[in-house]
């Protein structure tokens, strides 16, 4: 009788009932296991099981879409941690950031969050550039390009709302410069062309306290109201919307025939 090979510790673990209850397919060694490993995992099944060879070439994809999503996850996690320390009020916001950098040992969450956000903006632009240069917006993927443009816009708006939160000079003046443009919105801003037409008799409907800038800032200038609004938009509102569009974006990549490639 042939002697049984002793099992390695790793194989033993992977064959234990606990492991098998979590990862049903075991360690993916055989072709079937590798396919089932993708199919049975909720995260990995964003992917198809098999791909044409060009689709895994870095020279083709630059991995920029994947990195944009990864950066989004990094920003979500570091952002949640930052929320433990940060209170969005004029009284506390700045000192909380000071505390964060001075009291938290080895704290680099703010750095990760800030530099990661810049990196995400660049990654999203480069992803868009790649998709254009490979003509991947062409039918049948035209709608997914539209969703992608919205995602890029949401990325910029997420970054913009986060810009205010440290409540330092850079923050409020950058947001002041940015949001001042909103008061010139045609019809909807109090210094925009056509706004004076929206009036009942001689009562203007679009004033400094009712225009689109007021709605964005929750006030006539960048103050308490703006800080709270930007905080809520940054931490809840925009991530909620962007996640919906991301789900559509990923779903449509698969449904529109997978990653683009030469016919």
């Amino acid at each position: 009788m042939a002697e049984k090979k002793p099992k390695s510790r790793l194989t033993a673990i992977s064959e234990s009932p606990v492991w098998k209850s979590i990862f049903r397919t075991g360690i993916p060694v055989t072709r079937r296991q590798r396919m089932m490993g993708i199919l049975n995992n909720v995260f990995l099944h964003l992917h198809p099981v098999r791909l044409p060879k060009h689709a895994v070439k870095l020279k083709y994809t630059w991995c920029m879409g994947g990195l944009s999503f990864f950066l989004f996850l990094v920003l979500t996690i570091s952002g949640i941690l930052l929320m433990f320390y940060y209170r969005p009020t004029v009284e506390y916001a700045y000192t909380d950031i000071m505390d964060l950098s001075e009291q938290v040992p080895l704290g680099i969450m703010r750095e990760l969050h800030r530099w990661g956000a810049h990196a995400m903006v660049i990654a999203v632009w480069l992803h868009m550039f790649r998709v254009f240069m490979t003509g991947s917006y062409k039918p049948p993927r035209e709608f997914n390009w539209v969703v992608g443009v919205l995602l890029m816009f949401l990325t910029l708006f997420l970054s913009f709302t986060g810009y205010l939160l440290p409540w330092d000079q850079l923050a409020i003046w950058a947001i002041t410069v940015g949001s001042n443009m909103a008061r010139a919105t045609p019809f909807l801003g109090h210094e925009g062309p056509g706004a004076s037409l929206l009036a009942i008799g001689d009562i203007n409907l679009v004033t400094m306290s009712s225009d689109v800038r007021f709605a964005l800032l929750g006030g006539r200038f960048v103050g308490e109201g703006a800080l709270l609004r930007f905080y809520v938009l940054h931490c809840i509102g925009l991530p909620f919307i962007i996640m919906i569009f991301m789900a559509v974006h990923f779903w449509r990549v698969r449904k529109d025939g997978g990653i683009s490639g030469p016919v």
Partner: protein, 372 residues
């Protein structure tokens, strides 16, 4: 010698000079028509998208940055923690532009020779996502994480003085990715630069797949088959977006005045404000009758010019060179493309009118906040 060289760079960086140089070079670097293509080859510009060309571009950019860090004034701008992303942007834009164009030219050669493009594999030649893709993804995200960690440990996030609504910094800059829009504010009022143009950018980007009816060139890098589309996109992205961001970040100092990279940001730099409206040119300087009281009469010249610009140009082009485009796309898609293109070109046109004629507004009706 070095000082002289610095003043040359300062001079070239002036938006009027640098934009002119870029506009002159652009169609030769990214030839939109066969005629430009001939000159592109004759000038040897296709060598930009080879390994040697890439190395030259990389060296030139690095040399400028290294030189900049040795200069008192330039290093102040380059050394700002929040400007690090711009340097990463410049490097990555050039690198990926080079990579995309290199791949495109390789594929163009394949297509010309009747061979399949480099992205082509026989349909049955597939790989499993586990392990061929998930491992690449894992390595990519680990490298990105390492990069972010090094950046975060090496460079603390800046924090300025606490917010003070009564003390505005000079210059007050928007976040770097909006500096292209803030740069537009020099030439257009906020309702255009901050609202209408950004909306047109978003709408125009979204419209690309519906306006570009050419089904060729999907799923692989290519240039020759879709040179006009690529030219327009690259012009919008590289010149009107990335270039303006670089100008806004590096070259705009106190009072939003222009400063060359080696120039000191002095608050006292005086730039004369001598901008004149088109209506004044016509009624006061040319006709010498004074401005009419009725704003519509006063601005009639500007209004007519803009109506002709947006209304007549598409018709003229359709009768001339762009007739095939109209026939191919139909009148609605044709008009939309031309409208978006004309709106895009309006920015450089207004820039040149400002630089040459000191033109303030083409149409100026401040009573209704309607200035163009």
């Amino acid at each position: 010698m070095l000082d002289w060289l610095k003043s040359v760079v300062d001079f070239i960086s002036t938006p009027s000079i640098s934009l002119t140089l870029i506009l002159l070079m652009f169609p030769f670097v990214f030839p939109p028509t066969a005629w430009f293509e001939t000159w592109h080859r004759r000038l040897g510009l296709h060598n930009l998208w080879t390994n040697r060309g890439g190395l030259v571009m990389f060296s030139v950019i690095t040399l400028i940055f290294v030189w900049g860090f040795t200069d008192v004034n330039f290093s102040k701008i380059l050394g700002k923690p929040d400007n690090v992303p711009i340097m990463i942007l410049i490097y990555s834009v050039f690198f990926f532009l080079w990579l995309a164009m290199k791949s495109a030219y390789e594929n163009d050669a394949h297509i010309a020779a009747g061979e399949p493009v480099q992205e082509y594999y026989p349909p049955e030649d597939k790989v499993l996502v586990w392990p061929d893709l998930v491992y690449i993804e894992l390595i990519a995200l680990i490298l990105m994480m390492v990069f972010l960690l090094v950046w975060s440990i090496g460079l603390p996030a800046p924090l300025e003085e606490p917010a003070n609504p009564s003390l505005s910094p000079n210059p007050a800059k928007a976040p770097w990715y909006f500096l292209g829009l803030q740069e537009m504010l020099v030439y257009f009022d906020p309702w255009l630069a901050g609202v209408v143009f950004p909306s047109l950018i978003i709408v125009g980007l979204m419209a690309i797949p519906y306006l570009d009816s050419d089904r060729k060139g999907s799923g692989y890098y290519s240039f020759a088959g879709r040179r006009t589309a690529v030219f327009v996109f690259l012009f919008g992205w590289l010149v009107l977006w990335v270039f303006l961001i670089v100008v806004g970040t590096f070259f705009r100092g106190p009072n939003w005045n222009f400063f060359g990279p080696f120039e000191e940001w002095s608050v006292t730099k005086v730039v004369p404000l001598i901008n004149i409206n088109l209506s004044e040119y016509v009624w006061v300087k040319l006709l010498r009758v004074g401005l009419p009281a009725n704003p519509l009469v006063r601005e009639s010249v500007g209004i007519i010019m803009l109506v002709l610009y947006f209304g007549l140009t598409p018709v003229m082009l359709a009768r001339g060179k762009l007739r095939p485009l109209l026939d191919k796309l139909g009148s609605i898609r044709y008009s939309l493309i031309i409208f978006l293109a004309l709106a895009m070109v309006l920015l450089p046109i207004k820039m040149y009118l400002r630089w040459t004629l000191n033109l303030h507004y083409i149409i100026s009706i401040p009573e209704a906040f309607f200035n163009i």
